[in-house]
């Protein structure tokens, strides 16, 4: 361990015979207890033609269990002063609770009851379907949400397990029945591949024993493993020419802009090199792109590049927005700067700044009970191990100029064949993009 490495708090990890990982982390200080359950039930597991089922199933968990109706479930959780965190990401479903330390037993039981014993009442399924459909339509009012949906839908290409937003599509959600949720829950909410983590004031040994007790108590409601077919990950569709998709938002005076190219999976051995290179290009507040677009020209309030890294594939995404009148100026400038960066990589100063920025701020991402549990869970489930966290700072500081330059070229969002997505007023956007690349106009409703 070098001077720059991060010392994780005392913790114990145990793998149960079922394949469930147990994590017990001691965090002194405030009298809080956090429990987090991660399951291999993310959006990529949605069956074909059922985009959104993982999210739908998760939403239904708290709408009644085999022991109590929905209102009593809410009462059970919220009387502790807690709000249930429930989230579906591309890869997993996660449920979590943070409660005062003395309520740890109640929190454990509440979380496991919700996760493992949902009732999926017919009337609740029908109501959840109506809510989901209304929510999808309502989301069309938020240009940045539409842009986000378009990035994953179009960026990964048809048929790819990652090529839909976790909320799914209206056409699929309309078909959801009780049997869909039951079947998804039975096959995905299993112990194999799951992780149960706690963060509390007790010692890791005491916390682990509590985990083991709880696991034994709930064993009968929790299948160990189930049959499911492996996901098929095709390579992202190759494309030589840039193309633009404009999503028409009537009356918009501002255009949301995304430029997307294939990226890297999270398991890449070049993870830190990629992160450092991307930070110099479009992370932080002094990146090359923020400087050029916001500080020098005042074209936008927000400019960034992000690496969307999932376990099996990823995207490189440029994001910004500007008034309709300066859309072309912003796109031209972004492309010019990103292409130049792909050729040259970061300057020495920019590289050093990116390295120290990432290393300096890293401990803050492990500070709260919730963040600590999530980071440890992700490192283990993504197969990176705890050294990914412990040595992150020294690995970031060791990234060389040559490595950053290589990643700049390989990961630029503006590579040949990039996808330009604009959410805005179609006529204005079409005029602005004239002569840049082929432009296809799509209607907002297609992205519900």
């Amino acid at each position: 361990m070098t001077a720059t490495d991060v010392e994780l708090p005392p913790l114990l990890i145990e793998k149960a015979p079922s394949g469930l990982t147990l994590v017990a982390i001691q965090k002194r200080g405030l009298p809080l207890f956090h429990v987090r359950l991660s399951l291999p039930a993310g959006a990529c597991e949605d069956p074909r033609g059922k985009a959104g089922l993982a999210q739908f199933t998760l939403d239904l968990l708290r709408r009644g269990t085999r022991r109590r109706p929905a209102h009593d479930v809410d009462e059970m959780i919220e009387s502790m002063g807690a709000q249930l965190y429930a989230d579906v990401s591309t890869e997993e479903a996660a449920l979590a609770l943070t409660v005062p330390a003395e309520l740890s037993e109640r929190a454990f039981d509440a979380l496991l009851e919700v996760a493992l014993e949902p009732a999926f009442e017919e009337s609740e399924v029908a109501a959840a379907r109506r809510r989901a459909i209304a929510g999808l339509q309502s989301d069309l009012d938020e240009p940045s949400t539409v842009a986000g949906r378009a990035v994953v839908s179009l960026g990964y290409g048809p048929g790819h397990p990652y090529a839909h937003p976790s909320q799914g599509f209206r056409r699929d959600v309309e078909t959801f029945q009780r049997e869909d949720a039951l079947s998804f829950h039975a096959t995905r909410y299993q112990q194999q591949g799951g992780l149960l983590a706690v963060v509390g004031q007790a010692t890791p040994r005491e916390l682990l024993e509590q985990l083991q007790r709880k696991l034994a108590q709930w064993e009968s409601s929790w299948p160990g493993r189930s049959q499911r077919s492996a996901l098929q990950f095709a390579a992202l569709p190759p494309s030589q020419e840039m193309r633009a998709v404009v999503i028409h938002k009537p009356d918009a005076t501002q255009a949301q802009v995304r430029i997307v190219s294939p990226g890297l999976p999270r398991s890449t051995p070049r993870y830190t090199e990629a992160v450092v290179s991307n930070t110099a290009l479009g992370g932080g507040f002094t990146s090359l792109l923020v400087d050029a677009i916001r500080v020098d020209r005042g074209l936008s309030y927000s400019v960034s590049t992000r690496l969307h890294m999932n376990r099996r594939a990823g995207l490189s995404v440029f994001s910004s927005f500007t008034k309709n009148e300066t859309l072309r100026e912003l796109v031209d400038l972004a492309l010019e700067k990103m292409r130049a960066y792909a050729a040259s990589g970061p300057s020495e100063d920019a590289l050093e700044k990116a390295r120290r920025y990432l290393a300096g701020l890293f401990p803050l991402g492990l500070e709260s009970h919730e963040a600590l549990a999530e980071q440890v869970a992700d490192a283990l489930l993504d197969g990176l191990g705890l050294d990914h966290l412990r040595t992150y700072r020294s690995r970031v500081l060791a990234v060389t100029a040559a490595q950053a330059r290589t990643m700049a070229a390989e990961l630029s969002p503006a590579r040949d064949g990039a996808l330009l997505t604009v959410v805005g007023e179609a006529a204005a956007a079409r005029r602005a993009l004239n002569g840049l690349c082929p432009v296809e106009v799509r209607q907002l409703e297609e992205f519900a």
């Binding site: 708290r62 209102h71 709000q83 339509q137 009012d141 005042g298 927005f321 500007t322 120290r356 920025y357």
Partner: protein
């Protein structure tokens, strides 16, 4: 149970020029947060320069005597730190999160811009464009933003809470360099600032550095008081927005007390009972049972002067806003007509207490809470007593404050109706 001063051993210091300093050491991680709270927000503006507090917040990152343009964040990030800021109706807050060894640099950066900010025409012109983009993003093309702006203008006839923090577009365009210079001299003096430092540092060394860097900055003149009050509301008010949206929406507002009024804490509990968690009253009734809304939110934030209790309903496509409005009034009447059960009151108290504890779980959260208490309630110690003060609130208090706040003649309602405005 109150929070213990033993767990939050905040040191109170000050300089001769009036700069207030609050220090809280915690060496569990090699990081620090520094906040600078200035007692100025959009309530200190006037028509013609609305939005200057927020525009000025942007200008604070554009260079000072020692650290020129682009240097502030460049130096900070190169030392393992990040910065941000926000402006509200009542205050402007700047913060840095950073690796603890960068503390001398961070203090130097902050003191330098308080002592010698550079305001030039070209940086003002660029920053004005950035703020206009922010306004287009948060207000002109955002349903919540455009409704919130309309509600402020509807609810407040005279008080500066009438205009949005980001300001009217025509004022953003018209603010001059001279306006900014006057503003800086008046409001960015050390006697109008509270510094809060939390994290891994040595207190005496940090104080020596603060004294050295800030001690020579001259105090400003006493600030002009905000004297404009608000006449009593004598009847319900309504506004309508037509916009090509997918669904209608409703935003209701009721004038509330100032943050220092004890009833403010009662409204925190009412906010929680109505909207925190899936079992909250509005969510249960309007989202789950009656299926009128996609979502409901209630927002009540402490303000310096009597403020605003807001209820936002994002309606399901095709729902008649009047129907949703009637259901909303029925829920508010229930709070006024019937005492909340002890069980529900306890739920709200537990949620609020847990929220406070969670805010104190991070370095940034502790620094922000200490500064906010200092500026809004007059002392950071208020956070220690908060759990007990919430615990002492009774069901009768809730009913009394609900009756007073939600009386029909105090309603202000903005409705968003899908459709175009005819040219």
């Amino acid at each position: 149970m109150p929070l213990s001063e033993k767990d939050f051993p905040v040191e109170e210091r000050s300089l001769k020029n009036g700069l207030q300093i609050r220090l809280l050491r915690d060496n569990s991680l090699p990081v620090c947060t520094l906040y600078g709270f200035f007692r100025v927000g959009s309530r200190n503006e006037r028509p013609g320069i609305t939005g200057i507090s927020h525009l000025f917040e942007h200008m604070m990152f554009n260079g000072s005597k020692k650290y020129g343009p682009k240097e502030f964040d460049r130096r900070l990030e190169a030392a393992g730190g990040t910065s941000n800021a926000y402006t509200s109706h009542d205050l402007t807050a700047y913060y840095e999160d950073f690796a603890s060894e960068a503390l001398p640099l961070v203090l130097d950066l902050e003191a330098d811009r308080m002592a010698s900010l550079i305001i030039d025409d070209s940086s003002l012109a660029r920053e004005r464009e950035v703020v206009k983009e922010e306004r287009r993003f948060r207000t002109d093309n955002d349903i919540d933003g455009m409704m919130d702006e309309a509600l402020g203008a509807l609810t407040f006839l005279a008080h500066p809470y009438r205009w949005p923090v980001i300001g009217w577009m025509s004022d953003i365009e018209a603010i001059t360099r001279q306006d900014c210079e006057r503003y800086f001299r008046r409001y960015y003096a050390p006697n109008n600032c509270t510094l809060v430092l939390v994290g891994d540092f040595e207190a005496d060394a940090a104080m020596r550095e603060i004294e050295r860097l800030y001690g020579g900055i001259a105090p400003g003149e006493p600030l002009p008081a905000v004297t404009t009050g608000e006449p009593p509301q004598k009847g319900a008010r309504r506004a309508e927005i037509r916009y090509p949206s997918q669904a209608p929406a409703l935003l209701a507002g009721f004038r509330g007390p100032s943050g220092r009024d004890p009833d403010s804490l009662v409204l925190d509990l009412i906010e929680t009972a109505l909207s925190s968690g899936e079992g909250a009253r509005l969510k249960r009734a309007l989202v789950y049972e009656q299926e009128l809304c996609v979502d409901s939110h209630v927002y009540y934030g402490w303000r310096m002067d009597p403020g605003l209790f807001e209820i936002s309903l994002k309606l399901n496509p095709g729902v008649d806003p009047q129907r949703a409005e009637s259901s909303l009034w029925a829920e508010l009447s229930r709070l006024s007509d019937e005492q909340i059960s002890e069980r529900e009151l306890e739920r709200a108290k537990n949620l609020v207490r847990n929220q406070l504890l969670r805010a104190l779980a991070t370095t940034n959260g502790r620094a922000h809470t200490i500064g906010q208490m200092e500026v809004m309630l007059g002392t950071w110690r208020a956070m220690l007593d908060l759990p007990d003060r919430y615990a002492s609130i009774t069901a009768a208090d809730v009913q009394r404050v609900a009756r007073k706040t939600f009386a029909p003649h105090r309603r202000n309602v903005v409705t968003l109706v899908p459709g175009e405005v005819e040219a």
